[in-house]
Amino acid sequence: MNITVKVDGTSYTDEVEPRTLLVYYLRETLGKTGTVVGCDTSNCGACTVLLDGRSVKSCNVLAVQADGHEVTTIEGLADGETLTPVQEAFRECHALQCGFCTPGMIMQATDLLATNPSPTEDEVRVGMEGNLCRCTGYHNIVKAVLQASGQPASSGGEQA
């Protein structure tokens, strides 16, 4: 079936099988391989993108469901070389190691801060619960989200 989706500012019209998941449409049809697949039960959040501005797990949405809607992926965040505050904070705080969960983390953090611009550490921790990371122990991810919100990192920090 034919769908039209705006992804990272560009409109695309493509023929897709109804069973095609949005994430595979992004990766394989559009070549947007920045968004990755980490699980098959919608637990890990690595595939998180924004659908009409809100975070969703693109492995848990059919491409046909996105017909007529707008998608933002990790590749659509930075304006040229200018990173978003969340991206900046992830680098600054060393909030990534292997980087596989990172697109999902950044997209979810972007959504979180859009609705709650000054979260507490607890709110960040609960707000990011849908994204799994195996490298960082989350410490620096939480720190990065707080930093991106313009707040100083809370207690507990490293190098006490």
Binding site: R19, D40, S42, S55, N60, G130, L132
Partner: protein, 284 residues
């Protein structure tokens, strides 16, 4: 993993959707937010002939006031409900429970009515909806009918909604001014509830005047702890006073035994958490 092949239809009206259901019978699966259905399809634990996407039906969207109740349409996502001032004001228990559903991304897509029809006993929506005496609005080939929540949940993954019917809305009586708490017990936060306790109480002068308690994952359907509710009436809204009434909440239930806990453990924890949920609901 990639789901098996299926046809797809996105009807624009309820009657179109019903016609499709009538046409395809048990080959059809209804998709609203898809947050429970898609993982099952990806696991290939089902292979429907057609998926009927009801998310584009305008008439079942929205959250409205309906007399003494708040009506939540089948198109309303968890997030829509969480964002609704009507829900915050009148249905504190539902609001609290929905904040515990899965994670933010899932809440942006999944729907309250979808979860009710899915009827997963470990889902967080059934217990508060049951406790709050909701009415289910079901449309089928013979028109609309309303089913009380107490008659809605039939068995594991089974509800009163027939194969040729759609749950189009849930109407939940307002519980304005009630205190509420949903206590979800999990090992890690993205888990399904090991158990959950939905408690709403109306306190008058420090005494519980009315109480409603629903249980998540304490049986093959959401359960209503009516004997606890009755025992709570007239009790002081303090931990000591409610403890005895809550301790036996597991009696007569048949919770599952699985990786996260044996049945007897679930029953024990239910007693502890019911007490805590009631006290929290009462503002203690």
């Amino acid at each position: 993993m990639i789901p098996p092949e299926f046809d797809y239809a996105a009807p624009g009206t309820v009657s179109e959707a019903l016609a499709l259901l009538a046409e395809h019978g048990d080959e059809a699966k209804v998709l609203a937010g898809g947050q429970s259905l898609l993982p099952v399809l990806r696991m290939r634990l089902n292979a429907p002939g057609i998926v009927i996407d009801i998310s584009r039906i305008e008439e079942i969207k929205g959250i409205t006031e309906s007399g003494d109740a708040v009506r939540i349409g089948a198109g309303a996502t968890y997030q829509d409900v969480l964002d609704s001032a009507l829900v915050s004001e009148h249905l504190g228990l539902l609001h609290k429970a929905l904040t515990e559903v899965a994670d933010a991304q899932i809440r942006h897509r999944g729907t309250v009515c979808g979860a009710l029809v899915h009827a997963d006993p470990a889902g967080d929506v059934g217990a508060p909806v049951l406790a709050l005496d909701a009415r289910m609005v079901i449309q089928g080939p013979d028109g609309e009918r309303t089913v009380d929540a107490s008659d809605f949940f039939v068995d594991l993954f089974e509800t009163a909604v027939g194969e040729d019917e759609l749950l189009t809305a849930v109407e939940i009586p307002k519980h304005t001014g009630w205190g509420a708490h949903y206590e979800k017990f999990v090992r890690v936060s993205h888990q399904w509830a090991i158990i959950g306790i939905a408690a709403a109480v109306r306190v008058e002068g420090g005494t519980i005047a009315e109480a409603k308690v629903g249980l998540t994952n304490m049986g093959s359907t959401p359960l209503r702890a009516t004997s606890v509710e009755q025992a709570l009436v007239g009790k002081e809204a303090t931990e000591d006073a409610v403890a005895e009434a809550c301790a036996q909440v597991g009696e007569g239930t048949d919770p599952p035994s699985d990786l996260n806990g044996q049945a007897d453990y679930r029953k024990h924890v239910a007693g502890v958490l019911t007490r805590r949920a009631v006290v929290a609901a009462a503002g203690g």
